[in-house]
Symmetry: C2
Subunit: 202 residues, 2 copies
DNA sequence: CTCACTATATACCGCTCGGTATGGAAACAC
DNA sequence: GTGTTTCCATACCGAGCGGTATATAGTGAG
């Protein structure tokens, strides 16, 4: 309701909500949900606290909107990866896409989803649950894609698609942990190559 | 200096420091360093704040002692895993040991190291750096073990020992993230089996 | 017993947190 | 112009944080 372009009545806001949200995403990405203070957020966004609350609601609501932006701008590679013709192609696209995000020069390292899911066990369980729930849907899509891949003979019948999906996401998440811990880009690239080298099937 | 059994002068303390530290470790494990409040710690430890500060120092010092206990009691499987005769044996011991810790019925799920390394990017950078530094030594030992394994022909020369170590720790860390997110024990066991199924060499 | 010493218990400190009340400034309709 | 609406800036709120001062209670040494 705030961002609609209806007939403006009263003083118009002086900032761009999308730019501000992008700045908030960067802070959440670097600090995590609980580690990002409203003071740091408002400073990075270039607005004051009342403006933030009027435009984005409270901190949790702001985080959800930032999460939407993250999925739309940063995780879009996931669904396009599922279009690859083989299971190994899917894995390669997922691994390289994740690598690109986590070693970008402008964005913080690590994965916002991993950071939020692991770090919000303390309080903010609703945040943690939401992040886990969002992951669940893309995980289900990956499982479905790998089921089709097994039918198409991409990998041996002895491997369960769900187990292979769990394995692949584990490698991706482990890469995110390594990136959060400051591992170099070269080593992360070697991680991708090694994972592809041991990948079962085509 | 506090735990020495010298001639006791003055009133003796009424609690067992080791039991209290074990309780503190459980809280840190479940909540993370920053998520564990002193109020929750003292309540779980069964002591008051002045007793805690007198015996363990400040919160950071308490965490380091809890980390020592964690490494001694929970991560002891790591160095014994390196005694396995083959690289795949080492991987299996590491994977199964990590699985056992993270799906235990008494302890919290997930890995304290991963939780601390990922979640403490916010503040407490000294904590994060310490956890990362402690990991580095065991990682170096793993790399050295895999270098020996390659010389012994456990896996193809095309695979770099350091890359393989990075890959294996990524899977273990990814398993920890999955466990933190509440993944079932059966799926985590399948993850171990899948990783061993695709493991290169012997 | 008295003294020296140390653990415990309570209350408190300064600080930061997320969130908000209030007052003025700027843009519209008329 | 006036009125109305909305945004911005400052100051503030209660709550929880890590950490501590103070007073009391319990121990061994002499």
């Amino acid at each position: 309701m705030e961002t609609q372009t209806q007939t403006a009545r009263g003083r118009p806001r002086e900032f761009d909500p999308e730019e501000a949200l992008s700045a908030a995403l960067t802070v959440f990405w670097r600090r995590g949900y609980e580690g990002a203070s409203m003071a740091e957020l408002t400073e990075a966004m270039g607005i004051t606290k009342p403006s933030l609350y009027a435009c984005f609601g409270n901190k949790e609501s702001l985080f959800r909107k930032a999460l939407d932006l993250y999925e739309r701008d940063k995780l879009c590679y996931i669904k396009s990866a599922l279009d690859e013709p083989t299971a190994k192609g899917v894995a390669e696209r997922l691994l390289r896409g994740s690598l690109a995000i986590q070693t970008g020069t402008t964005d913080p390292h690590g994965c916002l989803g991993v950071i939020s899911a692991v770090a919000c066990a303390t309080q903010a369980e609703s945040i943690r649950d939401e992040v886990i729930a969002r992951r669940a849907s893309s995980d289900a899509a990956l499982v479905a894609r790998l089921e089709r891949a097994r039918e198409e003979g991409d990998f041996p019948d002895t491997i369960e698609p769900k187990a292979l999906a769990t394995y692949l996401t584990a490698v991706v998440q482990g890469m995110a942990v390594h990136a959060s811990a400051g591992m170099s880009r070269e080593l992360l690239e070697q991680l991708v190559e090694t994972t592809l080298a041991v990948w079962p099937g085509k």
